[in-house]
Symmetry: C2
């Protein structure tokens, strides 16, 4: 028995409540090491008198580790537990003190594992509408211009041109509203817009007025109209909360620049000295951008201001949640305050962080609901683009990713192939349409919520920022219904609509160089088989040509 590999952490993704009576418990062990795992548990106040022993199921199989899991449904949730392990040779107990041949329950209160009580406030809450969502990310300036009366003198970038960091293409909110039918035709029912508030840049991640829609993008009426139009079509819409930093043009920062320490906004920022000096960069900023001063969210006034912004757009415009820019550089403390305010305003508003790494400490029910799943992106790049992972190892990596978080969160993860902050995935796979389509299928089949970047449906290419932010090609979009990608999106949408892809039902594995994603639905199985090689391969689901894929729906148990 490989004791080094065993891992269980109480009150973590290894032990979490998903309702007032449901507690899921996981154990990690070395891959292939354990043949059977049981959970021995009972109320901690009758320890040693009434253990139940339930088998745990192997749910994920990663690169080095297997993960076993069981979900308990108990009314007395004050649970003490130990694991009972069998490796084909020996039986062992596993408690807070490690492995032992026997376990003395009479001393158990010192070393059992426990979940002491499910408090409603600590339950990891779901956002049910997210399970039905298929997202489309729009970089507003590059999508569509709807306001034909506006001053267009700032616009210099035309469709088909390569953007530079200062390009403006004229996209606006009205343009999005006009294109909602087109977007819906792709099977999309949720939007996430990059920032729309007043800012001098094209990306608007440097905001000078959080209460004003940038005039290039339109008016507050335009936003209201867009949100209402979305809702009328059954679409949800998220805005981008840039709360880590603002623009040097924000009046509060200008006040500090003018008055220094005498400004009542001095503590809104993090300044080393009497007043901010862009030359010396004596204040904290995003990256090294002197025009993006960091907001001091540890200052309660700033926290109040920002949560005020967050609730304002929910209350006054009815938006359905927020994507949080650079959220990993803002404090846990702030996100807890933010969550309380947002959820009080709209209980099913969704909160999606931008954390590129394991963010399990932000995803414990008290901060975000979800993150942009860039670790999934990376895995897709390694498999489809760089081909540094074969099907087997990709399956393992994807299993390890699912083991990072609890299943409530897994089912809410915003999965993406690319965004405004990466190369276009189509370019990453050398513009190979078959590989690109394979990736799109995986995106839609992976547990969580798929999100495509505008233009994905047209296989728009592009390198790193700003090249990934080219204009939407509306001439091509006119002809989209004739494309394979459109057919794929129709099919994938139909599949997502008629099946309920949940982490608790998924099995992801490699078989004969094929990547298989398989969901059990009662007796039935729906599966995706991806061939990422150039040669035809065979698996029990059938033959799959090189760089092709197969979706199979088996009624009844698999042969």
């Amino acid at each position: 028995m490989n004791e080094y590999a065993l891992l269980h952490r109480m009150d973590s993704e290894y032990c979490y409540p998903s309702s007032e009576s449901d507690l899921t418990i996981r154990l990690r062990c070395a891959k292939g090491d354990l043949a059977e795992v049981w959970l021995c548990y009972e109320s901690k106040y009758v320890i040693g008198t009434s253990q139940k022993k339930v088998p745990m199921k192997k749910v994920f199989s990663g690169e080095l580790f297997d993960y076993f899991s069981v979900t308990l449904h108990e009314t007395d949730t004050r649970l003490a537990y130990v694991f009972y392990l069998y490796d084909g040779k020996d039986y062992r107990f596993y408690s807070e003190e490690g492995l032992s041949e026997t376990y003395d329950y009479t001393l158990g209160f010192y070393n059992f594992f426990q979940y002491p009580y499910i408090n409603p406030a600590d339950v990891i809450r779901d956002v049910p509408w997210m399970h039905e969502a298929r997202f489309y990310q729009i970089f507003v300036d590059r999508f569509a211009m709807g306001d034909r009366k506006k001053d267009t003198s700032y616009i210099h970038l035309k469709s088909g041109e390569i953007p530079n960091p200062k390009s403006f293409a004229g996209g606006d909110l009205k343009g999005i509203t006009e294109k909602l039918d087109y977007i819906a035709s792709l099977g999309i029912n949720a939007l996430y817009l990059t920032p729309v508030f007043r800012s001098v840049s094209n990306h608007k991640y440097d905001i000078s007025d959080y209460y004003r829609i940038d005039e290039q993008f339109g008016t507050s009426e335009d936003l209201k109209e867009l949100v209402d139009a979305c809702h009328a079509k059954g679409m949800h819409i998220l805005l981008d909360a840039v709360f880590n930093h603002c623009s040097e043009d924000m009046p509060q920062f200008r006040d500090v620049k003018e008055k220094g320490k005498a400004s009542k906004f001095y503590d809104w920022f993090v300044i080393n000295g009497d007043r901010p000096d862009p030359e010396k960069l004596n204040y904290e900023v995003f990256a090294f951008c002197d025009y993006m001063p960091k907001l001091n969210t540890s200052n309660p006034e700033v926290a109040d201001f920002l949560t005020g912004v967050a609730t304002h757009y929910i209350r006054e415009y009815g938006i359905d949640g927020w994507r949080l820019d650079v959220s990993d550089e803002v404090s846990h403390e702030f996100w807890r305050t933010f969550r309380k305010a947002v959820k009080a305003e709209k209980a099913d508003a969704v909160i999606i962080g931008e954390n590129w790494h394991n963010a399990s400490n932000y995803l414990r029910g008290d901060q975000y609901d979800s993150i942009m799943n860039y670790s999934f992106t990376k895995c897709c790049l390694d498999f489809f683009a760089r081909k540094t992972l074969n099907a087997d190892r990709t399956a393992q990596r994807l299993n390890d990713l699912l083991a990072r978080n609890n299943n409530v969160v897994n089912d809410l993860m915003l999965n993406l192939l690319d965004s405004h902050d990466t190369h276009r995935f189509f370019s990453e796979v050398g513009e190979n349409p078959d590989t690109f389509r394979n990736a799109l299928y995986l995106l839609y089949f992976f547990p969580g919520v798929p999100c495509i970047f505008y233009g994905t449906e047209l296989a728009i290419p592009g390198g790193y920022d700003p090249d990934c932010r080219r204009c939407m090609d509306w001439d091509e979009a006119e002809k989209i219904e004739a494309t394979d990608l459109f057919q794929d999106l129709q099919r994938l949408t139909e599949i997502r609509k008629t099946h309920n892809f949940r982490t608790e039902n998924v099995r992801i594995y490699g078989e004969n160089d094929l990547l298989v994603v398989e969901y059990e639905e009662g007796e039935d199985t729906i599966s995706l088989v991806i061939n990422n090689t150039d040669e035809e391969k065979t698996c029990p689901y059938g033959r799959v040509k090189g760089n092709d894929r197969l979706v199979s729906i088996c009624k009844g148990a698999r042969a």
Copy 2:
């Protein structure tokens, strides 16, 4: 290289800020596996251009694992890092994606480890006075009677008698005030009292009025007098916050019993039905005690009420913090609210939870400062009482305990051999005075804060509750200065006063059946060597007789 054993979790005890510029990073590996470990790090915004490579030091050596650590002091705290490992044969990088022979920093933003930014709100804060503290836990009813005018008709237990669950001995607050000189003579400078609020029981863990001192224990003036007298002597004093549950006699619960769902306090409790029925036990309680209804701390009214109690005793009486009863069954959410209120009232008030297990999720700077360290207790029991662990394995277990938490917390842990909830340690070691003294030395030498249960200094025996709660023997106490234990406490107090025992300087190991606890202080070393066997043993510090101990202060480096 044993990859199964490698463990690093971002934003946990493996990576935590202890100030706005100090970040400690740890890595776990298989015991003896790695010869050298380096941390390669830099600002995440210049990734791949400016890595610093610093060696990490092996700080803990547990049963299966070694733990390496380094503390960084940086002004730019937006840190990306990977580990570089050498096992005597191979060099490997270790990132979020596991081991690799090479590491591509240009793709690092997808898979480096990171601490994205030290926000002041997320720093794990110290409680400096705790480092000087030597605690004494008093079970009030059994300690000393000071009020000679009170109605004594409720008192039936006399000194020397064995208590039963309904015994009353008459101890009160005035009694403690009168005995402060005695307590101080033991080297004690901090008190923790079991509950003192109105309650019908002797232990008063079932409180009916949180704003009244129980009349058996005295008046609010008596509490004020006690707190002032403590402070005048440079002592700190903590009270016991029983916030998980109350008494059936609490007016709010009586109201619900009377009016059922019509009561405005119905949601203060967790009731399944129209009204609480002790026969059916259709409401949640502590353990299975129908007279101890659980408080619904998820109800903001209840949370407000309880934080009001907590701040009241700090503001009006000046107490120095709270010990939290059954704190693991109360929500994280509540403790976060509680902490904010308490720290706002008194920044250096200490918050000590009663969690018998790994409580690292409560000890991340946002909830408690510390817990009662019952895992330390268990280790002492296994070594000194049950002798199921030898010196080597005890040292390993103690190292593993230190690896559970960050060092800010380790240095604040309330270490104890016994309490009102355990057997007396003196009885656990078969009343062997030498073994008992050895354990006392370990208690005072272990990183954190020692806490002795009243009567420890007299080696009072006792089994489980209520036997562990016998009366203080004041006749014996008169003669205490002639005892070995008194001399030990003098010596240990002097040692704690003149040395600064911090986790970052400790080394705990077994050598030739001896348990060694060693602190480096610049060039000097202070060490405790414990012989828990019956035979004389030798180590570089000298010979130690069976069941004896040796304290050694070496000036200059150890030979």
